[in-house]
Amino acid sequence: MSKGTLFDKVWDLHTVGTLPSGLTQLFIGLHLIHEVTSPQAFAMLRERGLKVLFPERTVATVDHIVPTENQARPFADRLAEEMIQALEHNCQENNITFYNIGSGSQGIVHVIAPELGLTQPGMTIACGDSHTSSHGAFGAIAFGIGTSQVRDILASQTLALSKLKVRKIEVNGTLNPGVYAKDVILHIIRTLGVKGGVGYGYEFAGTTFEQMNMEERMTVCNMAIEGGARCGYVNPDQVTYDYLKGRDFAPIDADWDQAVVWWESIKSDADAHYDDLVVFDAAEISPTVTWGITPGQGIGVNQSVPQPEELLEEDRFIAEEAYRYMDLYPGQPIKGTKIDVCFIGSCTNGRITDLREAAKIAKGRHVAEGIKAFVVPGSERVKQEAEAEGLDKIFQEAGFEWREPGCSMCLAMNPDKLQGRQISASSSNRNFKGRQGSSSGRTLLMSPAMVATAAIKGEVSDVRELL
């Protein structure tokens, strides 16, 4: 059993008690909600005559269903309009802070909470969205929940949970040029498998993560869930504190000094005990692309789609399904695969540093003929910052569309969808069958710079050729 890790310390500090079942009642320090997984929870609350216990510890925004072209209300999509209205109503009725479109701070829930300084080290954070693991980048225990659990937090600010084991994932060394945080996490998932993290929380440690900025750490923690780990975290350090200082909800003055002392105290001890340890060498990681229908089906950009016999026997069934669905054959080089749509955005890679890296590739070049390429900033603040730097111009001159913030084509609950069997190069997190809005649509996951490269070349290409 793990001992002395950040996970253990934060878990213990937030333990309210042990329930008769033996499950832990865990206090949730920050609860984030959005329009898709919360309306049923509020309805359950009303049915049971319950009130929101800590309304100030729940924060809302709207992201999944928002259109990224025309955001005028009412939305053209009647169901989307009903959903935003329900959230507006529920927040107002329950005194919950809501960052609505046009507030200047709306955006993807996992982009806005960090940029507002809501996400802080040592917190427990939950949201009805699996990519809540992103917030672990700050040294928080952050995980996705379902709607019944959203109800439980609204009513009690707690959850009934059993504790996870802790696996330390150490990556050491400097990443090669053209290799980004996205490649690191795709490489980890490809190695440990999409089921590798079931039952675990991941601690990401080692010099590679220490050298990363906060947005890169968020990209890694964001996809911990794609490796089966419900949460992933990086111990807080000076990089974390420098990012947080001065943000809207960060502690100030004497509280700040007290906060830093407390944050230092919740870091994993040097002699902490872990349930498992896996070590990687940063130098071995290449620009990575998924070829299949799970985020674990990834290969280096210069590699070929694997032969069934190269895979573990238990992974062959879904590989066979992936060859058919993706229309790729074993032994086929992934480089050169023709692309129809390029999507830059999402809670994985829709932050300002992601857009900067993609813009470096796009600058002075042009999207290949016949390719639809679009950039969706992760939040209103990201959009504003990008425009102040002129990134919107760089993208538009290169032939990319520049959109309004939202989840967009990551899961295509808004008008941004693949059509038919279109194939996308996407900076998002999931390549599941039908994920991007067409039941036969296909997704290749990669870093934002690799997506920009694919857009320029019209096919999967090695970003290093354009650096």
């Binding site: 500090l13 898709v36 929940i145 019944s148 509280d255 238990e314």
Partner: protein, 202 residues
Amino acid sequence: MVSEVKTVSGCGIPLVGNDIDTDRIIPARYLKALTFDGLGEGAFIDDRTALKGEHPFDQSQYQGAKVLIVNRNFGCGSSREHAPQAIAKWGIQALIGESFAEIFFGNCAAMGIPCVTGDAVTVKQLQELITANPQAVVTVNLETLQVQIGDYTASVAIDEGTRSTFISGTWDACGQLVANADQVRATAGKLPYVSWGNLAAS
């Protein structure tokens, strides 16, 4: 809202495949709604359409089944409770698999649907037995942690705390959690961040 779940008995339905994600269980377009109503029809809808009636959820011999037998890492991906809601509304009351994604497992537990695990050999055997005899009754017994089909019996497992909530009828934890509001406030009071910054002031 308390009801004990000690055993689930009914016909079984096998669904073979590892890493079946919640987008496949219920595509995102079904999430554009304010309630969970009507999700049963959407369960595995794209896979069913692609298989033109050959998906187990469409095959006549499995209609009315209550126990779903799956393989490894079932329910991975999105946290959408719409996934177990869709499966439950189709008629499933318990799942047996090699492993379940964490969030999916928790969502099922919160809905009173046990997900028990068996080793790969056991799960394969169960899937084969049901395929050979779809009318056979499968019994999942949470008290003895056994699953039975006819004279075949195998051991299954489930996290002890979750098992206890089913046996005692406290799988809907909401009431218990709310009853401890004083302790919750006491725990919050000891956490430094609860009193600093603009979130405390707002």
